[in-house]
């Protein structure tokens, strides 16, 4: 397997209203330029939006910044986009957050952000430590057809 093209973007954004749109647009452009299908692009954009909203709404960070990194890799058999969304906030317990969830499809007003992210992306892992901030890493694959 040879890696033919790789592009990376790092983005630092202030936590202001609607800033998640800037983040989503940036990853959307990168994904489109790499030839991802419009539905995959859309899913990634929605996942990034939820991750940014969580950082803004829950992290309580002092520096008021969201740090994003996007890595796009093209390989013989398709392409892959890795996304990291990081805040320097209070961190949380993902297990505890998961246990507060209701089953998908049950109408529930909040507590769906992480669930949506998991649904839209192929892989999701969260590294978070108490007062050490949170990074959510997500991956989307697109096989060549």
């Amino acid at each position: 397997m040879t890696t033919t093209a790789e592009r990376q973007m790092e983005l630092t954004l202030p936590m202001v209203p609607d800033i998640e749109i800037a983040a989503a647009r940036a990853v959307g452009n990168l994904a489109r330029e790499m030839g991802m299908s419009s539905e995959h692009v859309d899913e990634m954009m929605h996942a990034v939006i939820e991750a940014c909203i969580n950082a803004r709404e829950h992290s309580g960070c002092a520096d008021n910044r969201i740090y994003l990194r996007f890595l796009g890799t093209s390989q013989d058999d398709g392409s892959r986009i890795d996304i990291w969304v990081t805040d320097h906030g209070r961190g949380f317990d993902p297990e505890e957050a998961r246990s507060r969830r209701t089953a998908p499809g049950t109408p529930h007003k909040r507590g769906r952000g992480l669930q949506l992210i998991e649904l839209h992306m192929d892989e999701v892992d969260i590294s978070t430590t108490l007062n050490g901030g949170t990074t959510i890493h997500m991956v989307k694959y697109e096989k060549k057809s």
Binding site: V16, P17, D18, I19, E20, I21, A22, A24, E39, D42, E43, M45, H46, I49, E50, I53, T102, P104, G105, T106, P107, H108, K109, R110, R112, G113, Q115, L116, L119, H120
Partner: protein, 116 residues
């Protein structure tokens, strides 16, 4: 940044259609809610939301849509949606919204089924 949602209302013989354009976030959701509550106060009991020009929603916006549906159900009315992108459709399903609001592919099918 200006990602303001635009809402247009069209009254129909037996209800109304709400057209949205743009990002449905907290502010956009509230905007839709205000227009929907005005219509409900006016006696409208069948409301179709045509999301044709909305490509992005977030979970806070959707939770407001769920509140609107609940209020309408309390009044014995119903809310339906049409013209969703595949990803918004999927999102509505996880958020549980598809459970008590019908979702149609296009406005014609919706109007016919709802008797608008």
């Amino acid at each position: 940044m200006t990602e303001e949602l635009k809402v247009a209302v069209e009254r129909k013989p037996r209800g109304a259609v709400l057209y949205t354009k743009g990002y449905i976030n907290n502010v956009g959701g509230e905007e839709i809610a205000n227009r929907a509550y005005e219509l409900m106060d006016d006696g409208v009991r069948t409301l179709l939301l045509n999301l044709r020009e909305t490509k992005i929603v977030n979970s806070i916006g959707i939770s407001i849509l769920i509140e609107i549906i609940e209020k309408m159900m309390d009044k014995g009315g119903k809310i339906a949606f049409c013209c969703l992108t595949p990803v918004i459709h999927k999102t509505f399903q996880i958020m549980g919204l598809a459970n008590y609001a019908s979702i149609f592919d296009n406005e014609e099918a919706a109007s016919k089924e709802l008797g608008l």
